[in-house]
C-alpha cells in the first residue's frame, strides 16, 4: 500500500509518524513516573499501609476522576490559554504535550492503583511479621509482586495515550491523526492516506502490546518461580 503513495505523501506520513512517536514518548516520560507515584499513593493509602491524612487521598482520587471525565477534545481547548500564559504558545507541540500528560497521568494513576490493589493482602501481614521497613515493604514485596501487572498497566496506558494523541491535530499537534482524519478522511482524495495512517497506528499498537506482554511475562514471579 505504501508503494502506491507518491513521494510527497510518503514524507508527509513519515513526518506524521515521527510527530506521533515523539508525542507518545514525551508524554509517556512525563506521565509514567508521576502517574505511578499518584497511583501508588492512592492504592497504599486505601490499603491502610499509610494511615495519615486520608482526606488528601480522597481529594487526589476525585481530581484524577475529574481529569478522566473531561472530554479530551475539550481538555485540549481548555489548556490553550493556560499554555499561552505559561509557555507563550497556544499551538502545536507544547499544548498537545500538556494535554496528553494530564490525561496520561490520570490514566496511569488509575491503572497503577488497580495493579497494586490486586496484590494479595496477606503480603502486607507477611512483610510486617518479617519486620520489613516501609521502604523494604515497597522494594521487596509490593514492587516484586506487582511488577508484571504494572508493566501491563503501562502498556495499556501507552495505547490509550496513542489513541488520545490522534486528536491533538485539533490544536496543531499534527501526527498520524492529522493525516488520517484531516487530510485523509475530510479530503475528497485522501482515502489511501487515511487507511495507511490507520495501518501505521495499528502497527505501533501491536508493537507496544507485544513488548509489554513479553516483558510482563518475563517479570511474572508466579510463572518464573522466584
Amino acid at each position: 500500500m505504501i508503494v502506491l503513495l507518491n513521494a510527497a505523501t510518503q514524507s508527509q506520513l513519515i513526518k506524521a509518524a515521527g510527530e506521533t512517536l515523539n508525542l507518545l514518548l514525551m508524554s509517556a516520560l512525563i506521565s509514567l513516573p508521576i502517574g505511578t507515584l499518584i497511583g501508588m499513593v492512592l492504592a497504599l493509602y486505601e490499603k491502610k499501609v499509610f494511615k495519615q491524612s486520608r482526606w488528601i487521598v480522597r481529594l487526589l482520587s476525585i481530581v484524577v476522576s475529574i481529569i478522566r471525565s473531561i472530554p479530551f477534545v475539550l481538555l485540549m481547548v481548555i489548556i490553550i490559554p493556560f499554555s499561552f500564559n505559561i509557555f507563550g504558545t497556544s499551538i502545536g507541540f507544547i499544548p498537545s504535550l500538556i494535554a496528553l500528560s494530564f490525561i496520561g497521568i490520570a490514566t496511569v494513576a488509575r491503572l497503577v492503583e488497580q495493579a497494586i490493589i490486586d496484590i494479595n493482602p496477606t503480603l502486607y501481614d507477611l512483610a510486617h511479621s518479617m519486620g520489613a521497613s516501609k521502604f523494604q515493604l515497597f522494594k521487596d514485596f509490593i514492587f516484586i509482586e506487582a511488577r508484571s501487572s504494572l508493566i501491563l498497566a503501562f502498556t495499556s496506558a501507552l495505547v490509550s495515550l496513542l489513541a488520545y494523541s490522534s486528536v491533538v491535530y485539533i490544536i496543531g499537534g499534527g501526527g498520524l491523526g492529522y493525516t488520517a482524519i484531516q487530510i485523509g478522511y475530510y479530503s475528497p482524495v485522501g482515502q489511501t492516506l487515511m487507511w495507511v495512517s490507520t495501518l501505521i497506528m495499528i502497527v505501533i499498537v501491536q508493537l507496544v502490546q507485544l513488548i509489554g506482554n513479553v516483558l510482563a511475562n518475563y517479570l511474572n514471579k508466579k510463572k518464573r518461580g522466584f
Partner: protein, 267 residues
C-alpha cells in the same frame, strides 16, 4: 510533588526554546482541503521573493486564537461571519484581507427532479449552526420554497420563516452528519455544501443530486472563505506580497481545475 512539577516546567521550557523558530517566516494557519494545497502551490514562488511560508495546521475552531495572540500571521479558514463571532467574543481586531473562494451551496435531492415535484410536508435536512442555517434559509427563500420575514437575512432562525407553503419539516443537523441523515431518509431533500455531500460511501463530486445551486449575489458573496489577518499586520509588505500570489492566475486555475466542483474563485 512541587519538585517534580518544577522539573517538568524546566523540561518543557527547554523544549520550547528548542523548537522556537525564526521570525522571518510568515506563518499561515490552514485546516481543510484545499487550503494546504493552495499554500503549497505558491510557496516556492514566494521563496523567490524572500518570503518563507510555514503552514500551521490545526482545527479551524481554534485557529483564530493564535492569530489573535500574534503567533501566526494569517489564516485561511473562515468567512466574515465566523470571524465576526470571534471578534465580538474576544474583543479582537481580525480583518478580512482577501476573499479566496465562494463555496458552492446547494439543495440536494435524488428523488425529485424539479422544485415543483417537492410534495407537501417533505422533511428537509439543513445545517444547524448559527451561520449556515441562515444561509440555508436564504437559499430556500431565493428558491421561493419559503419566505423569510422582511429584513432578516444572515441572522435568520427557523422562527423567522413567515410562510412555508410546502409545509417543509426542518431537521437541523451538523455539517458533517447532514449527508448520512439525508441518505438514511431516502435521499429526499437536504441543503449541503458539496464538500460535505457524500454518496453512501464516496464524496459526491458531481451535480447529479443537485436540485439547485445558490446564486452568487451581493449577499451570498459575503460568505467567501477568506484570508484573514490582524488589522495591525494587514499592511505588512510580506502579507501584501502573499495576497498578490494568492490571487494569481495560477491559484485561480488550480481552484477551478481541482476544486471547481465545490467552489468558485473569489478574486
Amino acid at each position: 510533588m512541587k519538585k517534580i512539577f518544577l522539573l517538568i516546567n524546566v523540561l518543557l521550557l527547554g523544549l520550547l526554546s528548542a523548537c522556537a523558530s525564526d521570525d522571518d517566516t510568515l506563518k499561515i494557519g490552514v485546516n481543510f482541503y484545499p487550503m494546504p494545497e493552495i499554500v503549497d502551490l505558491i510557496k516556492d514562488d514566494l521563496l523567490t521573493q524572500g518570503i518563507k511560508i510555514e503552514q500551521v495546521q490545526m482545527d479551524y475552531n481554534v485557529l483564530n486564537t493564535p492569530l489573535y495572540n500574534g503567533e501566526i500571521d494569517g489564516n485561511m479558514i473562515q468567512h466574515q461571519y465566523f470571524m465576526e463571532f470571534f471578534n465580538q467574543a474576544n474583543d479582537s481586531n481580525l480583518v478580512i484581507a482577501q476573499p479566496i473562494y465562494h463555496s458552492k451551496f446547494a439543495l440536494y435531492s435524488s428523488v425529485y427532479d424539479s422544485l415543483e415535484d417537492i410534495p407537501n410536508g417533505t422533511t428537509i435536512y439543513v445545517p444547524e449552526d448559527v451561520v449556515n442555517l441562515p444561509r440555508a434559509l436564504i437559499l430556500l427563500d431565493a428558491l421561493e420554497l419559503i419566505s423569510l420575514s422582511a429584513g432578516v437575512d444572515v441572522f435568520a432562525t427557523l422562527d423567522d420563516i413567515e410562510s412555508n407553503p410546502r409545509n417543509l419539516v426542518f431537521e437541523p443537523r451538523s455539517l458533517g452528519t447532514t449527508s448520512s441523515a439525508y441518505h438514511s431518509d431516502g435521499s429526499k431533500l437536504a441543503i449541503m455544501y458539496p464538500t460535505y455531500a457524500r454518496d453512501t460511501n464516496n464524496q459526491l463530486m458531481d451535480d447529479s443530486q443537485v436540485l439547485a445551486y445558490e446564486e452568487l449575489n451581493d449577499l451570498t458573496r459575503t460568505y467567501a472563505i477568506s484570508f484573514v489577518t490582524r488589522a495591525n499586520n494587514l499592511n505588512d509588505p510580506r502579507i501584501q506580497t502573499f495576497i498578490e500570489y494568492l490571487t494569481s492566475q495560477k491559484v485561480r486555475t488550480w481552484i477551478e481545475e481541482n476544486y471547481g466542483w465545490a467552489a468558485t474563485p473569489a478574486f
